[in-house]
Amino acid sequence: MIELVEETARARSIVLDLPDWRGHRAGQHVDLRLTAEDGYQAQRSYSIASAPEDEHVVLTVERLDNGEVSPYLVDELRVGDRLELRGPVGGWFVWHAELGGPLLLLGGGSGVVPLRAMLRHHSAIESRVPLRLLYSVRTLDDVAYRDELAGLTGVEIRLTLTRSWPEGWRGYRRRIDRALLEEVAWPPAERPLVYVCGATGFVETAADLLVQLGYDPDRIRTERFGPTGG
């Protein structure tokens, strides 16, 4: 582990130096295993936040208050510590150029992590596939990769804040709903390829609404974070 980056008060990115890494695709995750001194082990999956083209593999981890592993990763881990991990894992929730678009990325909370890998990959390969990200998060302070998202060109980033918003906030101010999706998503006739990632409630709501609005279920890929994922 070579660098730590505070993303929000509850999340940080862990930059890894992996000499034997065989590469990954945007959207994949790793299985990370911690071992206590007495041999006790705990294993969890974390999405990769970096693009395949990035120099280092980066994980972004959000602290879950009752979690067993995430508080250690967010609060205890220090530069120079070694981590045992396996991956990349998962071949479905991935995006690469041959899959085309237009691309609609819907992220709830830390569900934005694998979508950020897709954004960075899209940018690294100078893809012309139209891309929109709708990122739903509680408050502006909970927005990860804020400067990076603000600096992106050629893609459309929409934020919705669900709990509180700063004065003069011009983005959306509610949880994802039908009207919000109708406004943000390309029309069903354009057959967007949709990636939805977040907690189960967010994913169920978004995917159900998209199906009701006439989007092809076969072009909607989902990934969920269980409440016990930490």
């Binding site: 911690l34 250690y72 510590d81 894992v89 995917a207 076969d218 969920r224 269980g226």
Partner: protein, 201 residues
């Protein structure tokens, strides 16, 4: 690789009998949801369960016909490849022994298929002998769509991705054929006690 993670103690879950928790798993009281796409919602009057492939007469059951078969209530431990295990889960449904009773086949494998296009493969022997059910109730209630309702395959001795949600039938095969996750690098068999998570394990 370091032999331990500096400063990590973990939170032992002493309430769980370690003999019931496979390696690399942790016990949860929740019921996390995992799936690759939107939750399908097929009306029960259009729901059927088919057994097709290597058998003389394909089987096709309506929802009412499935309900009319003798049901069993079982309490089992389930193990998800993402790391959680849930102990003492209670399901009701029809045993595959009941469903396939009288079926003559040379097949040694089965590919379960579901609404939404999901598939998973397993040896036919793993579906027989009191090891697998078509489950339509969880904890005494109709199975929630998020958890695979109206009916899902329940094969608790294998990782839970083998317990196909929204199951609509089985194709009996003489040659094995990888299912959805098996084609994406997950283990072909998936025994949690041997930690067969990914291809090559």
């Amino acid at each position: 690789m370091s032999s331990f993670s500096r400063g990590f103690r973990g939170r032992r879950r002493l309430e769980a009998d370690p003999a019931r928790v496979p390696p690399g798993q942790y016990v949860t009281g929740d019921f996390p949801v995992l799936s690759a796409g939107p939750t399908p919602r097929t009306p029960l009057d259009r729901w059927t369960f088919e057994v097709a492939g290597a058998l003389d007469e394909p089987l096709r059951l309506s929802w009412d016909e499935l309900q009319a078969l003798p049901s069993e209530t079982v309490s089992v431990d389930i193990h998800c490849v993402t790391g959680w295990s849930k102990l003492d889960t209670t399901w009701a449904g029809v045993s595959l022994d009941t469903l396939l009773d009288g079926v003559e086949t040379a097949a040694e494998y089965a590919l379960a298929f579901s609404d939404g296009g999901y598939t998973t493969n397993l040896p036919l022997d793993d579906l027989l002998g009191g090891k697998a059910w078509i489950a339509y109730a969880y904890d005494g209630e109709p199975l929630d769509p998020e958890h695979g309702g109206p009916a899902r395959l329940l094969v608790p001795h294998l990782y839970f991705w083998k317990s196909a949600k929204w199951v609509r039938g089985l194709r009996l095969l003489e040659e094995d054929e990888p299912g959805f996750w098996e084609g994406f690098g997950y283990h072909n068999y998936g025994d949690p006690w041997k930690e067969q998570r990914y291809r090559g394990d």
